[in-house]
């Protein structure tokens, strides 16, 4: 048992990564993912909303997935969760799954409020002016 076992409930000393190579590798991965995200974000912006709704959504989802990848690297390598035993990883991951329904239900209802507002609870047609979000002169002039 090595000297840094701090507490009697630990019976096997975990052996930590010996080199710093993995840390630096992760740093570069995080940096590159961030740069890709920024690139995608900037691309969306540079089109001034001229892209189709579906394509914009797909790009934004891609950014979201990249963010999750970043989160994975931070948690797994920097916070050493990847080095812990499976039992522990599961107690962290499983409760986080609650976020799925948390997010789905909230956003779903948020979207439904928008519809209620736009149609005055179904008593009138939705206004058709949805697509003027980015007036073309807006970005360049500033």
């Amino acid at each position: 048992m090595s000297s840094h076992v701090s507490s009697p409930e630990i019976t096997h000393a975990p052996e930590h990564a010996s080199g710093t190579g993995r840390i630096w590798k992760t740093f570069w991965v995080l940096s590159i993912l961030t740069i890709i995200e920024l690139g995608l974000g900037y691309y969306l912006y540079s089109q001034h909303g001229g892209l189709s709704h579906g394509f914009t959504l797909a790009t934004k989802s891609l950014i979201g997935i990249l963010t999750l990848a970043k989160a994975y690297y931070i948690v797994s390598v920097f916070m050493h969760l990847g080095d812990e035993i499976r039992n522990f990883i599961m107690t962290i991951i499983v409760p986080l799954c609650l976020f799925i329904w948390f997010i789905v239900a909230f956003l779903w209802d948020g979207n439904s409020w928008k519809n209620l507002r736009n149609t005055d609870a179904g008593s009138r047609e939705a206004p058709k002016t949805e697509k003027v979000e980015h007036a073309p002169e807006q970005g360049a002039k500033h």
């Binding site: 409020w113 209620l116 507002r117 005055d120 609870a121 179904g122 008593s123 009138r124």
Partner: protein, 351 residues
């Protein structure tokens, strides 16, 4: 004085109980703890089974007393609510059966298996078959209830029929306002920033369709047998349009319009005959806590026959003319004073 006596009596009872309790402890020390314990056991086992019997009789008696006062003997006042009443009866039946069986078992077992020196407890830690049965059966029953419930839920939350009478309901502390779309059947736009003392709903009169809109307070009229769609708003805090007779309820939320619809089955007059209560009224109860006057936030729905409704509607003058009297045709001005008096019949807040 009465209160003082009550408190004094309470304290007296307290002291008596305490003395008895104390004494019983001494007695049990004399008689032997074990013997007293067994005696207590017998008494309590008997009381438990007595509680079951008297409890069930009490539940039946309570039903005799109060079922007649609920809304169910008179039936639903809306067409849609009938289906909901059936749901209610089914649910009462299902839960009632489960209730009686489980409570009976609970107290019966307690009585039957009270401590007895001649019997040993039966070692019975688990039985997979039994456990699967009482997982599966409730699951199936509940799924059935869900299916029926959702069918009704989707029916009433679906869009109102196209030919509905549309009424905009607005809640504020502590009263209800109603707006009818007028002859063009379109409600004029609103913007809360336009609210003034005269234009209390913040109607945008620049919108042409608001010129024929009718605004009344506290009491709304709708025709019988025709679907009525409510568009619900609130001005200050959350209120709720509770319509117990029509089996509906929907919150009025500031900033988010909501809606509900129903088809009234009986006119107010018919209901007065049916319930043998000459004062019967379809009341709108605010069901969401909205401040000190919450309990006095009463609205009334008058369900008229088709002709009466038309007659009533024709006496109502558009709000536009009240606010811009110069734009109104001559005969309207004379009436408008009368109308505004009528609509101001809000119940006084009792403070």
């Amino acid at each position: 004085m009465k209160e003082f006596l009550t408190v004094a009596l309470g304290i007296l009872v307290f002291i008596v109980i305490f003395q008895i309790a104390k004494a019983s402890e001494y007695v049990s020390a004399l008689k032997g703890e074990e013997k007293t314990r067994k005696q207590n056991n017998k008494i309590n086992a008997f009381l438990l089974i007595a509680f079951l019997i008297f409890g069930l009789i009490g539940a039946w008696y309570c039903n005799e007393l109060y079922w007649g006062k609920t809304l169910y003997p008179q039936g639903s006042a809306s067409v849609e609510g009938e289906e909901q009443d059936v749901m209610m009866y089914i649910t009462i039946a299902v839960t009632g059966i489960v209730f009686i069986i489980t409570q009976a078992l609970l107290f019966w077992f307690s009585y039957k298996y009270q401590e007895n020196d001649n019997r040993k407890a039966f070692y019975f830690p688990h039985n997979t078959k039994l456990e699967l049965i009482w997982t599966g059966v409730p699951a199936i029953v509940l799924c059935t209830l869900v299916v029926f419930g959702l069918r009704f839920w989707f029916r009433v939350t679906d869009d109102a029929p196209k030919d509905s009478v549309v009424v905009e309901v607005t809640g504020h502390q502590f009263g209800w306002e109603f707006r009818y779309p007028g002859s063009d059947k379109v409600l004029g736009k609103k913007n809360y920033k336009l609210t003034t003392g005269a234009n209390s709903l913040g109607v945008d009169f620049a919108d042409k369709s608001s010129e024929d809109d009718i605004h009344v307070s506290a009491t709304m009229h709708i025709p019988v047998g025709k679907p009525c769609k409510m568009v619900i708003n609130a001005q200050d805090v959350i209120h709720s349009v509770g319509l117990p007779h029509f089996r509906l309820k929907m919150d009025a939320v500031p900033g988010i319009p909501t809606t509900q619809w129903f088809t009234p089955k009986y006119t107010t007059k018919e209901m007065q005959d049916k319930t043998k209560n000459p004062n019967f009224a379809y009341e709108i109860a605010c069901d969401q806590m909205c401040g000190a006057g919450h309990f006095s936030m009463r609205g009334v729905i008058v369900v008229d026959s088709e002709e009466d409704y038309k007659k009533w509607l024709s006496t109502q003058k558009p709000e536009y003319f009240t606010i811009f009297p110069d734009k109104a045709p001559k005969e309207v001005i004379a009436d408008s004073i009368k109308t505004s008096k009528q609509t101001a019949q809000v119940l006084p807040v009792k403070n």
